[in-house]
Symmetry: C2
């Protein structure tokens, strides 16, 4: 069994949304499974003393343009949410509740549901009514989902996950760790594919 691909994402990250749509296909072509990790980008930014690109005035306009362009480039629907970024801890806690308490594949389905809802329909995942409606629409027990994201157990679980990500060197999203090699950003897709296709060759070419 080949090592899994560790995939870290935040529900409020447009580049995470784009990557979430190709990571399974790319991994699958090379016989790899994907471990999905919902994290809070804010926690990793704080640890690394970084800020979101949209928080820099000069970069903001470019970033908004690049989000949409990168989605088009990937052939994906994308609508920039007016409210952006948003706090995503509740969506992430539902992810970990499903992951640990129900089944990891249900958590992945929820990740897709949340990312697609926010980045194609502007569903505000930080609004509890909207979140509960999305949970229901996604086939979850909405009352159980709400109980989960207010439960200290899943708050703590998400915090541990953030801490573990930071300890592993994650400082942004999407972030991938493949065979111990870190890749940051949706735009590292080409390098990840090349790594998976011929890890040893890639590593020793030219150097």
């Amino acid at each position: 069994m080949k090592p899994v691909i560790e995939f870290f994402f935040d529900f409020s990250s447009p580049y995470s949304y784009i990557a979430s749509e190709w990571v399974e296909a790319v991994a699958g072509r090379h016989g790899r499974a994907v471990h999905w990790h919902a994290i809070l980008l804010g926690a990793t930014f704080q640890a690394a003393e970084l800020k979101r690109p949209v928080s820099y005035p000069i970069k903001r306009e470019y970033s908004l343009r690049d989000f949409a362009r990168s989605a088009r480039f990937a052939g994906l629907p994308f609508v920039q949410p007016g409210k952006f970024p948003i706090p995503t801890q509740n969506a992430a806690r539902i992810f970990w509740w499903l992951h640990d308490g129900i089944a990891p594949e249900r958590a992945v389905a929820w990740a897709h549901a949340g990312l697609r809802a926010y980045f194609t329909r502007s569903v505000d995942l930080s609004d509890t009514a909207a979140l509960d409606a999305l949970a229901q629409e996604s086939g979850l027990d909405a009352a159980a989902a709400r109980a989960a994201y207010t439960d200290p157990q899943w708050k703590e679980r998400l915090k541990r996950e953030n801490d573990a990500a930071i300890a592993a060197g994650v400082f942004g999203a999407p972030f991938f760790i493949v065979d111990g090699e870190p890749f940051w950003g949706n735009d590292r897709r080409g390098q990840i594919e090349q790594w998976l296709a011929g890890q040893a060759d890639f590593e020793h070419t030219v150097m």
Copy 2:
């Protein structure tokens, strides 16, 4: 005549080095010329209130790894200079002296000479003796080059270029402006190629 590609680079930017090796070929395949602009990344960072990625401890290790990996990915030789980053105003002033005073293609040849010397042989472009030796080795009149980089005329020329770049929205390097569309980073090569191949189709896909 199709619009030129505006290409902004800094002599101390590894991603600029990588992009400098493909930009002419990519442009040429689509009947475009390239206007090269030597700028100081420090000036654009200051204007945008940004810092170099290597100035963040958590990002530094990743960045150094990614520089080398991105060069391998592009099939280019690369040796991380021990002294990095370096001030590059003298190399940039030589560029503008050649560009305005001799011929733009001589300036491009100098850009290649400087980027390759720094990123494959660790030639310290901030050291005047090393810079003078590189000028001579590159077929320039070393005394004239030295006179140029100490001449207020070329100091002022570089400053004007930095200001113009900032006014055009440039906040990093490499930076490309194609048909008014801004692209930041060596990793936007794919999007630039797609833009050049079918600007209108690309722009309207999905959206």
